[in-house]
Structure formats: C-alpha cells, structure tokens
Amino acid sequence: MRSKILPMQYPNVTSWQWQANTFAALANYPLAKPWIMTHFIPLQLTLNEGSSYVDFYRTPTFEFCPWLLRQHLSRQLVRHFNKDICTFLMDCIDMNNYIYVLLDQAQFLDFKYFFSHDSFVFGYDEERCIFHIADFTFTGKYSFAEITFEQMRRAYEGVEDDGDWLYAGKGGLSLFQFNDRAAYDFNVNYVIEQLEDFLNGRSPSDKYREMGYMTKPCVWGISVYEELIFEMNRIRIGQNAEDSRPFQVIHDHKILMLERIDFMDQAGFLEEGKKLKVRYQTIADDALMARNLIVKYSLTKNKDTLDKVEVLIRRIQVCEQEAMEHMIHNLSRASNMTPTGEMGLV
C-alpha cells in the first residue's frame, strides 16, 4: 500500500482558488520567493454583468510561473491511457505532481445537485482509500480535506467532457511540479515599472501582449478603487449583489505588499522600509475592514454600511497613491532606473 502527501502550506493569498492553490504549493519552495515578490502588483477589475471581478494580473498564476512545470492533459487523453482515475492520480502524485482538476463536488459535499468546482489534489493514502484535496467549498474558507476514492471516481466522472469549463472552456486537468531548474532574481526595475503602471491605471497587457487573454472590459491599478465606488452604488440600488471577494483580493494585495516591503528592505532596496510598512499596514487594515463590512452588510442590509465601505475605499486610494509614490522614489535610488511617469517625480 502506498501513500504520499506533496508539500502544502496554508497560503497568505486566499482570494481565488487558482491563486490560493498556487501559493499553498509555492510557499514550500523558498527559491520561488524573488519571483513572487517581483509579481502580483497589477490589479484588474473586470466589469461582468451583475458583479465586478477583481484579481491579480496575470491569472491563473500557474500558467506563467517559471517555478511550476505544467503539463496539461485533456479528459480524452487521460481516459485513453488510464482505465481508473484514482490509479492515475496516485501515479501522478508519486511523480511529484499536484493536480488541478474540475470535480462534481456534489459527490462529497452536502449538495443535492451537480456542483462543479476546480479542486487541487495534493496527496493520497491507498490504505485508507482517500485523497487529500484543497478548496474553499469544504468550510467556506480555503481548507484542506479528504475525500474517498469512490467519491473521487464519481466526482471526476460526473463532469462530462463538454461540461468541463476549466481553462477557458477547453477542459482537462493540469499537472504541476516544482521546477528546480528555473532561475529568477528579484527584478527591482520591473517592480518600479509595475508600480508606475498601477498609479497610472495602465494595463500590463499593453506591454506583454503574449500574456493577454480574452476578457470583458477591465480597469487597472488605482482605477480599480474608482470602479469599486461605482460598484457600491450598484449594490445600493440593487443592481448588483454584494460580494466580499473583490475586497479579499485588495486585502491580499496589501498583505503581499507588506511582505514585499520586508523583502526589499532586507535586500537593501528600501531606505525607509519601516516607515513604508507602517503606512501599508494602515492600508491593509482598511482593506480588511472594508471586506468585513461588506460581509456585515450581507447580514444586516443596512445601507449605512456601504457608505462606510465607500469612505474606506477612498482612503485606501489616497493612502496607497502616496505610499506607492514614496516607494517608487525610494526604490529608484537603489536601482539603475529613473522614474518614467509623472508619479515618479516626488
């Protein structure tokens, strides 16, 4: 009887499953830290009908992360070579692959009807006949759980080939393993560029067209806050339902910014890292409060709460603009780069 659990840590970014899963795996590989600290600065808000979707650019992370070796397999291919999905998944894990796959979670959650959701498989125990998987759906917050082999079989086979909407509707499953042949040094010039783009509300896809993908209209960087204020009004008049997830992303963005400040401070890129950290901690606290107040609104429907959230968004916008301008100015001294945008002229 065999068993194996691939390294997973509770991630500091939990906004979306594709981010949380990637961060949970990468947290075990300190070599990936300079890459993480160089990225996750751009924010995008996509104007979907009925909701505003906020995420880091670019997403999903695992598709362009140099530290993750990715192999994608269609469901037809998996079926062609493997009679039993459980044996296939165990073999993949034995070969150090995490598996990102769409499952019918109604087979193991308390759902009456079909409920497909992306799931992250990271271990198994053949003797106990269980897989270890991660998702938000077990408890409502990101968590690790076990499902039986039988549940896995039914959950995987419960999704039809043409009903697999993962990977922009192409479907299939992705295998990831840590790529220990990758190399990535922290890129301070790229960080400065992204900070300037954030303040100018510019899309990073203008520079990196190969990273672009089909999406509904978006706003970027600092403009995300302006759009979230409009969103508060749409919620107020009942046009859109309240959603705490954009604020969870904003909060995660600040948590990563705090981590980045520490990282850059220790690496000697920031002269006033401690002061910047205090400023960013206030912004992170405001983002947390905004998220929690939206959750509170969902319970009370007291519209005064939305006014408070709006005040917090405006404060985050002003404070982050000041803090980022200060950061760009500070970083430019340590890099070989002159700030290009007017935001850099502090």
Partner: protein
C-alpha cells in the same frame, strides 16, 4: 438599569454559544476580545458582532470587525460600551 456584570454575563453566554465546547476557555471581564475573536473564523466573528448588535439593540463600533491584533479592548470594555449606549437611549 442592569449592572455591568449582567452585561458581562450575557456576553459570556453568547460567546459560549458561539464557540465549540472544546474551545471554551473561561471568559471573564478581563478577557481580551482579540483572544475570543481569534477562536472564530472571520465569518463567525462578523456574525457574532451582528448577533451582539441584535441582542442589545445597538450598533457597535466598526473597530470590532477590523484588525484587532493590537487591540486592548476586553469583554468588560464591551460591556461598558453596551451599558453606556443603552443608558443614553
């Protein structure tokens, strides 16, 4: 008008109802709220604040659903706050 310890007792009871039996630590007026909050996930914590507001018919400061890591507020402080708020009504 209720005495402060009555408010503390009512808050204690609500906390004990909220937390799993195995998590139950003795809650006193000196217990820091952040020590109670840390035993709940964020959804439980926000729901609990709303339940307190409903129970006592008032709106509590937003601070209670914010980052409480550095907060020195105790169960006793919360009881005082509720008591004085109700006395004003």
């Amino acid at each position: 008008m209720l005495k402060k310890h009555s408010y503390v007792e009512r808050i204690q009871n609500l906390i004990h109802l909220k937390l799993e039996p195995c998590d139950n630590q003795p809650i006193s007026a000196d217990t820091l709220l952040r020590e109670v909050w840390i035993q709940m996930d964020s959804m439980q914590m926000i729901t609990f604040v709303v339940e307190l507001e409903t129970e006592f018919g008032l709106e509590l400061p937003d601070e209670l659903v914010g980052n409480m890591t550095g907060s020195h507020l105790t169960v006793g402080d919360l009881a005082d706050l509720i008591k004085s708020s109700q006395e004003r009504v």
